[in-house]
Symmetry: C2
Subunit: 270 residues, 2 copies
């Protein structure tokens, strides 16, 4: 173990099944998930996109009824419960009349950051305003954590950018509707995570949904990809995927090559 | 079929086994591959990286002994034989004393472009100078063709850039040394091709090597990925992978989303 290598990080993706539109019930479910993760000595708990609200919200009125700010007492409660653990949770965020599809990073120090999804999927535009700030990288007890939300990750620019900004792990709260795939293949979003992880030597943890919501199923494709690009997670219970991730800030991939250092940005037109 | 959709393109990746350092033999082998592809009505023939020279060249002297320019009579012969077909072939290119790891696109119109690999792998730096120009997109009889060489493709910026420049298919001559992978997984380079294809809705055809060269084996991972991100190739003989690719310039991926149009480049720091 060199000085560049931090100890193994225990990562958990907890596939919650929020009750759509039932904020109180969902906040209690998140309390419970944090308590379980804390008892299991998890370092990074990733929860789904819009875990507080559910995804298939009926109309603007229902969206507003479940929206909250990062000053909501729930976040203070989660901070107290998290301690050293970093918790990434998706929520419908209100800022006056504007609603964002957001994710907060919470630990014992409070709410470290709130990221507002910048690439909206499908009819999300009808309920949410896209964020205007790029995704963040924040320092946590285990290392540097980057945040994306669901469809964001399908833009290879974004995981690359977070790796260039020093992210050790990228957490991705998601709500993946099932899509067809050939037999034996991973869900396509997992393939994108694998490729992004390998090309930048950065770990990626995606937390999908469980349950059925207003008749809509989910891929349940939660995955933790190591910096080598291979899935490292294990389903330890019906709803939890756990992994130990060795953080390695050395991006070298051979005696002669470096995944980030070999870039030639002056040639790229993006 | 809408006006945006061109007819199916017949793509072939022919995994050659050049004799390292034996230029004359390798040029004849390429003649034969072009003749076979022409007889099979192939529209795009992709041959490996450094097909004219082999990969594990011993020293500078051997590299120089096999280097050639795009004015070599072999290219005129290949042009005459190609007709409407586009042929992508990797070769050691000399420019005075400077040697590049290059790929040419040849059809009946001549040598359409020569691309000099910009991201060199391993000890290639000892024999080759990296190119200073970004990879090109050229018009062919079937559509717009982008070119990358091997390790280039592992930089997600590059297939993205070629898609943004209107590439319908990206051809990637490669020499993939075998690397370990978990059971049931594609070679990691194939996963990167799948992810790049899907995220930009662009087809990608990678042609690997066959044979054993100075004791070194190859992945033989040649693959043709459709714009939907799934492998579309079929091994039709020991050394040829064929696919029919439907070109679709519509990058929409849902009623609300567009793989390229949804980008927010003002947020990207690359």
């Amino acid at each position: 173990m060199t000085a560049d290598v931090l100890p193994n990080v225990r990562v958990r993706c907890h596939e919650l099944a929020p009750r759509v539109g039932d904020l109180r019930s969902n906040l209690a479910m998140i309390d419970e998930a944090i308590a379980r993760a804390s008892a299991a000595d998890v370092d990074l708990l990733v929860l789904p996109e819009l875990a507080t609200s559910g995804y298939y919200l009926r109309d603007a009125e229902e969206v507003h009824s479940v929206a909250m700010t990062a000053h909501d007492p729930a976040f203070a409660r989660w901070s107290a419960a998290a301690g050293k653990m970093a918790v990434v949770v998706g929520f419908a965020e209100s800022d006056g009349e504007t609603i964002y599809n957001s994710a907060a990073v919470v630990n014992g120090g409070g709410v470290l950051t709130v990221y507002r999804k910048t690439h909206l999927w499908g009819v999300e535009h009808e309920s949410f305003t896209p964020g205007s700030a790029p995704p963040p990288v924040v320092d946590t007890a285990f290392g540097r954590l980057g945040i994306l939300i669901c469809y964001d990750m399908e833009f290879p620019e974004l995981p690359r950018m977070l790796a260039l900004q020093g992210a050790d792990i990228i957490a991705v709260p998601t709500n993946w509707p099932p899509v067809p795939r050939p037999n034996g293949e991973h869900p396509p979003e997992v393939i994108q995570a694998m490729a992004s992880a390998r090309s930048s030597r950065v770990a990626i943890a995606c937390c999908d949904r469980s349950g059925v919501e207003r008749g809509n199923d989910w891929t349940r494709g939660s995955t933790v990809i190591g910096a080598d690009g291979w899935p490292a997670g294990e389903r330890v219970s019906d709803d939890c995927i756990d992994a130990k991730i060795a953080i390695d800030r050395d991006r070298r991939i051979s005696d002669y090559n470096d995944a980030l250092g070999d870039r030639r940005p002056q040639l790229y037109r993006l």
